[in-house]
Symmetry: C2
Amino acid sequence: MNDNEVIELLQSNFSFWEKMNEHDKQTFIRSSQKVCFSKGTNIHNGNDCTGVILIKSGNLRIYMLSDDGKEVTLSRLFAGDMCMLSASCVLDSITFDVLVDAEEDSECVVVGGCAYEDLARRLPEAKIFALETALARFSDVMWVMQQILFMSMDKRLAIFLLDEIAKTGYDTVKLTHEQIAKYMGSAREVVSRMLKYFSTEGLISSSRSEGIKILDKKRLRALTL
Amino acid sequence: MNDNEVIELLQSNFSFWEKMNEHDKQTFIRSSQKVCFSKGTNIHNGNDCTGVILIKSGNLRIYMLSDDGKEVTLSRLFAGDMCMLSASCVLDSITFDVLVDAEEDSECVVVGGCAYEDLARRLPEAKIFALETALARFSDVMWVMQQILFMSMDKRLAIFLLDEIAKTGYDTVKLTHEQIAKYMGSAREVVSRMLKYFSTEGLISSSRSEGIKILDKKRLRALTL
């Protein structure tokens, strides 16, 4: 990614670009950095204002963490998406902390939080953009909450597996039970028990070497209704 | 509440009041209605755009509902608070439904969703106000989620009881186990069991006629740490 690419990315993703004057545009560009995060990197630890993260390629995961290390995935972001919850200084009304990891090698542009905040104070369109982007994650979180609170585990696991294969295009999910539990905010034992049940029902086959192979997509989908 | 009181309430609660021109102010006032909701009324059912609800007195509860009737309280609003999640037409980025009930007899002013939306399209300050008000609820929901997912039940119940007595100023919580369970997104059995445990520990005494009396605030508070 060269500098022109960065400018193009900023232009095409920040809808208020044309509302900025030349000076603001230059400041915005100077405050933006291209960063490559390798798979597994923790990008935002919940405390500092990391800035606004724009994803060019790859995949970020937003999650919350309990004192004893339990994680719940709140949202996954892909190319073209933007992470605003990592720019806490821009959003006064947000009083909680989330963490952000790179799930794959990810090419991103990070816009400095202070520069964005300064702009948002003067340009209502930039403020509205930040608030709307953050609010879209609110809907994600409500969806996660709905699943955790109200859905039975079989339904949740079926949705998770179908989402995974839809995303990768393969019929096999290459995740450990531990990883699946982590993503679903559940316990490994619960996931293993349910996968075993799916397996005896002929919905999937599961092995340590092969991962989880979906055998009957139709019946798995029926579980999600 | 007479018309002048309504206008005063609007003036002092909508921070963008002075940014409106005279015509907009008049339209805003005409679109606002004083409404008294009696205790237990469902004010917003999650579907229609009920409008922006400004609370003059009383107490509203925002909650989510599962297909099988399970409820989880997301937030409680009191005098001076505003409910923006009931104005779905103002907030494009919100894709979930919540319900709103009056928990006490409540005097409110409801601003029509269409009128607000129309204003917000023209006045950035009104748009920013709506987004920020909605985003504040995001923080509430994350707090609820944190409690549900990560905290043990004793801690959650202790927090709930201490919150209740802090709110009412009495040492006794006049709610049934069923109601407490509903507010906490838990089951009555779980609440009853934990209250019994608190009771044998000398933290509270509980009876059908008297309600739940807090006997040892200090030790109860220690549980919340």
